[in-house]
Amino acid sequence: MTEFARSAGLAGPDAEARLRRRYAAERRFRFYGQAAIGAAILFLVFLIGSIVTQALPAFTQHKVAFDLQLDRAVVAPSGRAAPEDIRENVAGFYRLVREDLVERFPEGAGDASDRVELYSLATRLAVLPVAHDVARDPSMIGQTRRFWIALSDDLDLYLKGLVTRENVMTLGPVITVEVGRGDDSVVLTVAEAAAERIRANAPWSEPDRFLDGDPTVLIQAGDVVLKALELDGPEVKAEVLTGDLAAPNALASSPLTVRTIQTPETDRNVTDRQIAWTLALKSDGRIERRLNTALTSNADSTYPEIAGVFAALVGSLFTMLITASLAVPIGIMAAVYLEEFAPKTRMTDVIEVSINNLAAVPSIVYGLLGAAVFLNFFGLPRSAPFVGGLVLALMTLPTVIIAARAALKAVPPSIRDAALGVGASKTQAVFHHALPLAAPGIMTGAIIGLARALGETAPLLLIGMVAFVAEAPSGPTDEATVLPVLIYKWSTGAERAWEPATAAAIIILLIFMVFMNAVAVLLRRRFERRW
């Protein structure tokens, strides 16, 4: 200890202990702060990571190539090749797709249940883009063109590996093939080692025999797909799911791919045959994994593979436009009046308290208000972005007013004095000086309010914006839905494919919000001035 410390009474064991305690407290506090920030970052990373990993599969999609003979009689049955008729002719195009499927897989053309099984490789509405393409270019009629059509969502998920766990192994070619040993099954003879591996990978309830409810073992060679039924030494008894065994060298020439599908057929939405057909198409080179453009360009659909957020995005945009064009100017004007002009009376106090309280009112209450006033009393259209915008504007208004007042309060009074001092009127002082200086703060507040409105679901449910809308709205009075409502709807969808789609929609909403916040930051940077 220095002489100074001693003379100041800062030395001695007591003082040193006190000093140590003080530093320890400081270190502890710093640690708590860092821990809190660390935890926040961890949660954020976890949240974003889980959403992104969930959403990733939804950004790509498997598509099947179809060579469609665009027969005029089917494509334009009315005889006219009017684009609007072609555009609507889903049935016709779907017939072409079905015919193509039957042609490729004749075994699926049996009874009605066979056909349903086969046709569900592509949903009916998935042909819409084809119809649109042809409608845009009717000269295609009569020709054969190749079109890529979305694979059914369940099979898409199967290919992405999201339906079931699957063990895949490649074995050497078959040694002999024997067809029709008393039934329609075949018996393959494979190398001993290969048979051992198949056995080891077939976790059946009874050794060497497939029973219903057991995991399926598929054996694929080229475009032939078999389902293993019994194992007997090097012999594998199997059922032909698809493919022509009579074709030369069909089986014997290609190596075998054996996949064990762990989830039994009864527990999944895709049948073994559908999987076989998909594998066959894949080996034909007719299935490709492509970017899922439907997600951003399509409207909502009941089929996940063709559902998109576009309509909701447009609906959100219209709603935000209405909200912004109402809440921001009204909010700013109200704030300017309250802050700069209104005399401080009991009345203004009441108004101020009311505004602060309104900002804390649950958003669903605004929905109820909107439903009661705008829909029932004024008779405005249901499900319209206009009404949604009105409701969200009401909800955002208090936030904007509070932010704008705070920003105006933060403008130093000396600036107003300066303006008044050179003979500016009160209005000039406010609009020439105080308001421009407060603008960045006001903008930030307004955009934060709008971002909150953008993510709002509850009030919009109540005014009918949850209705199913298949077309993007062309104006604020059309029926529409918005992104958060869409996310809510998708998240309740029964099919597995909605899960990644929901996550993808959340990411799109987040990007929208980040974009808005970036605009806010930019505006702030641009207009911020130092005084």
Partner: protein, 268 residues
């Protein structure tokens, strides 16, 4: 009448020049609280009149009566007459906005607008329509900056922000801004309290120059400053005018013991 009022009325120095501002029995109230008690004084033209007194004595309040800046304070009420060139500023017929263009003001903290130097000066003439075209406005800007002794320092960067200047330059910019609208009276509310001594000296020199053309009233906490720049000094205490006389007498031989105590640093 109390004793101090008697002294106030008797110690009011006869102005050397023609009278510019004639205040008669001015009272100021903030809601129910009276801040200024019956102050009458005569402020001569083309000279500097300093208001001194301890904090809260009402000198700033009184100053702000002259251009009706108290109007902007809620609950403030001014009684009595303040006559500038024969017109009572509190007359309902007098527009406070026009009054403030005739009675300019410079504030305690340099408060340039966060705009360019040029726009700072041009703002007043623009809103009052003093210039017909750009050339005329340029002329006003140059003239005002020259008179404020700032032209040489800023003529090459008129477009840069006024807030980028040093404190003293900012305050001279504010003075230039005040004289740009061609006022007759300039009120200064502690214009140097935020400045260093060199900047203060520049401002004081400037005030001394401006005295040739304007009637200047300055509130200051620095007795030395009042002594250096003013010709008349008024001492306020607790909302009353204790003594008003020529500066020399006030600082060598004040009549009122309260003034004496305040000036020699014996107050309270």
């Amino acid at each position: 009448m109390s004793e101090t009022d008697e002294q106030a009325s008797t110690s009011g120095a006869p102005p050397k020049g023609p009278v510019k501002v004639d205040c008669r029995s001015v009272d100021v109230f903030y809601n129910d609280k009276q801040a200024i008690f019956d102050i009458s004084m005569v402020i001569p033209d083309q000279s500097v009149t300093a208001f001194i007194g301890p904090s809260g004595c009402g000198k700033s309040t009184y100053l702000r009566c002259i251009n009706r800046m108290n109007d902007t304070i809620e609950g403030a009420r001014v009684e009595g007459e303040i006559v500038i060139d024969g017109v009572d500023v509190n007359d309902p017929a007098v527009d406070p906005v026009l009054l403030r263009s005739r009675v300019g003001m410079v504030f305690q903290k340099p408060n340039p607008f966060p705009k360019s130097i040029y726009d700072n000066i041009a703002y007043g003439p623009r809103i009052h329509g003093l210039a017909r075209d750009r050339a005329e406005l340029d002329g006003i800007v140059e003239d005002s900056l020259t008179r404020a002794g700032l032209w040489e320092e800023v003529k090459d960067r008129l477009a840069s922000p006024g807030t980028g200047l040093s404190g003293g330059q900012q305050q001279r910019l504010c003075i230039a801004r005040a004289i740009a609208v061609n006022p007759e009276v300039i009120l200064m509310d502690e214009p140097c309290s935020a400045l260093d001594p060199i900047a203060t000296a520049r401002i004081e020199e400037l005030i001394d120059d401006l005295r040739q053309r304007f009637c200047i009233v300055i509130v200051t906490h620095s007795m030395q400053q009042a002594a250096r720049v003013s010709q008349q000094t008024a001492f306020f205490h607790l909302g009353k005018l204790i003594e008003y006389g020529d500066t020399e007498t006030m600082f060598t031989n004040p009549a009122n013991p309260k003034t004496q105590d305040y000036i020699t640093g014996r107050f309270g």
